[in-house]
Symmetry: none
Subunit: 423 residues, 2 copies
């Protein structure tokens, strides 16, 4: 079995200021790809340590993934360490140098020689990013591929998926085929999914549970002689879980909830608007992160103050006076107001208490009214969400979007939600 090691570089990791995400990411992906990781090592920004570990690890592995220390600052020492450990020269790469100057010009900056060090790579290094926009290169040493990647998790993850894994597959074709799928659940507990998975008694598949607030992700992995066999095993389980959780299993792999909702609205040619109080724009923001959302999203009103609720959405002043801003009446009126104002098929409204202050015994922090206005009817429901201000805002926004998703999908006006408090 092909053996590898992961080396993470950075004082911030040794001091516990920053969580070592990159190593975790790499370990997870390489394992699923069928490779065996012998060690994950973290060292600080100290050249001698980096040199020592590079030499040591090279002796026992077939490939190496290194992250961090490629930046322009003084504490970025990876390239020098590589040069010393493998006794290679550091040679300037004109294409990277000019890219650095380009960026400086594009951003109206003076040329800064400090940045040049990023262009001095060990001889033989093959830069990984096509556009050279991010650091990172492959270095083959004694036939072993050594991948040097940036410590920034997003950049690391992108290069890992798009460059490192494909190259590894070429150099060390996995002996078994591996197929993995991620199923995304909303409003279900890990334990409930785990229970269902157990009952499936699925053969030859591994499960991984990853709570990614506010969702739960389940990865299903199968290893088999052929890709097809592996895929079939995974799909068998996937179908079973779809039947078991037709409402809570909302998407697969990269599919996000706002994206699924957007696809449904697009398919039906319907439009959406939102009226937000306690989520303060988060709902609209989640919707508009999706490319092409302008096709179905018309607009939103963030009516934080009562005056704004009245003026923008036409919430009657007496509702606010008689029932309070956090009430069924105001949620209904906000949803209808948004639907009228923006002239959309659907509108979602949210009014509640995200905390930390503002709660009362009657309306504690986490109390939220969500309104859904459809062409045929407008309804509102009360929820009681747990957690911090941000968690309450996030659970609220996702629940509202999910409610419309389930309405469009199953025509269920009142799907069950664990945080719903019907009354």
């Amino acid at each position: 079995m092909v053996k590898g090691a992961i080396l993470a570089i950075g004082d911030e990791l040794l001091s516990g200021r920053v969580f070592n995400t990159t190593s975790f990411l790499a370990a997870e992906r390489l394992y699923r790809a069928g490779y065996r990781i012998l060690e994950i090592v973290t060292v600080g920004d100290e050249k001698s340590e980096i040199v020592f570990q590079l030499k040591r690890l090279l002796e026992k592995v077939d490939f190496l993934i290194v992250s961090g220390g490629l930046g322009p600052t003084e504490d970025d020492l990876t390239n020098e360490a590589v040069a010393e450990a493998l006794s290679l020269k550091l040679v300037p790469r004109p294409e990277i140098l000019s890219r650095i100057r380009e960026n400086e010009r594009a951003q109206g900056l003076k040329p800064n020689v400090l940045r040049d060090k990023m262009a001095y790579l060990p001889e033989g290094a093959e830069p990984l990013a096509d556009d050279l926009a991010v650091a990172g290169y492959l270095l083959k040493y004694q036939g072993k591929p050594l991948f040097f990647l940036p410590g920034v998790p997003s950049q690391f993850g992108k290069l890992l998926e798009e460059k490192v894994l494909p190259q590894l597959f070429k150099l060390y074709p996995p002996r078994e085929a591996v197929f993995t799928k991620t199923l995304r659940f909303f409003d279900l507990r890990e334990a409930e999914i785990n229970q269902a998975v157990k009952e499936l008694k699925a053969e030859g598949v591994e499960f991984g549970f990853y709570p990614v607030f506010p969702e739960v992700h389940l990865t299903i992995t199968a290893r088999a002689k052929t890709e097809e066999e592996a895929r079939n095993r995974v799909l068998l389980v996937t179908e079973a879980l779809k039947t078991r959780f037709p409402e809570h299993l909302f998407g697969e792999d990269g599919e996000e909830l706002p994206q699924v909702l957007g696809r449904l609205l697009g398919e039906k040619g319907k439009t959406l608007s939102v009226a937000e109080s306690c989520t303060g724009g988060l709902m609209a923001s989640l919707i508009t992160r999706i490319p092409g959302s302008s096709e179905y999203f018309i607009g939103g009103a963030v009516t934080y103050a009562n005056e704004a609720k009245m003026k923008t959405l036409g919430v009657p002043e007496r509702f606010l006076r008689l029932f309070g801003a956090v009430s069924r009446e105001v949620a209904l009126s906000m949803a209808e107001g948004a639907r009228k104002h923006f002239g959309t098929d659907f509108a979602l409204s949210v009014t509640g208490i995200a905390g930390p202050s503002g709660g009362s015994s009657e309306k504690p922090v986490g109390t939220v009214w969500i309104g859904l206005s459809a062409p045929t009817e407008t309804v509102a429901r009360r929820f009681l969400f747990p957690g911090t201000r941000y968690e309450i805002q996030t659970l609220t926004a996702y629940t509202a979007l999910d409610w419309l998703r389930r309405y469009l999908l199953h025509d269920t006006l009142f799907p069950r939600y664990r945080f719903a408090r019907e009354d």
Copy 2:
């Protein structure tokens, strides 16, 4: 300086099934306590590997923290590995054996000899938990303390705080105090900050650079005889950098940019509203994540469609027809419209092309007009932001908020921004 290392044991860590929380926990606490960690190593449930690492790490450190592999199952091999690495016998501990039997009775389980292995510790081991309820022991080898702790984060954390750190303090009284501060910058490159830091020629402080998109964080750490001396060294540098970057250094430690802006608005008793197109609610969302934002934030309009811009904000239809939605005129009109509609002292507006589609040669993806409406004047500026849709939306929202922050702070209506394209 006292040097230590952290060794985590477990296949689940190498396969990325489980975050390595224990090492992160230990690293953070030990660093704050003034000890220096040389390495954090993770290996699988393989005896030879554990033996190898124990021997290797013992050579270079004064103390060792090991987690995992103390349980009753077959893949728990730490004790055997310790015995082999340090050539010590494993001896049964009657007090632990009887504790195991007790637990079995308490839980109505049959006596299970498999569990007995947990009672066989290397000779000289001193169990850590007073009640022996959880595994874990201290072993002194050649005068060096080796702590073996359970892999369960909660148990690990408890023993770390209550047993490991006190013992370490006794054996190695911290010679120095440590003081750390994080400075947060916006619209400055890592390299520019690094340049300034070098020019300071600061003595006895360490610097760490962390790009936390869209900010850059600089951590300043000083170790000294006394806490006060360490703090003073850090504050000296902090003051120097505040003078050097009065506009870009917006906050310290946990202080977020929307929080700083909110504090300024609160102090001046001013109110804010926003009008968003391409940021789609992100600006409002960033503002309202801050507790107490209702004191200064009145509301926002997410006017994604042109009709919404006209209806909610009173953007003249001819502006949209003559100049297009992404134009100075529309940005100005949106900002003024929001300020009027919500009746606030200030309003920020945003209209642009977040991509990936919708760009043109004349208005490429990333083109954004930001408007600022103040009681005395309303202005708009053109920006060209790089990156993905989400990065463009984030840079836009932060730049708008930062623009108002700098206006309130320095009265500068046109502060310099690297992505600004004045015309």
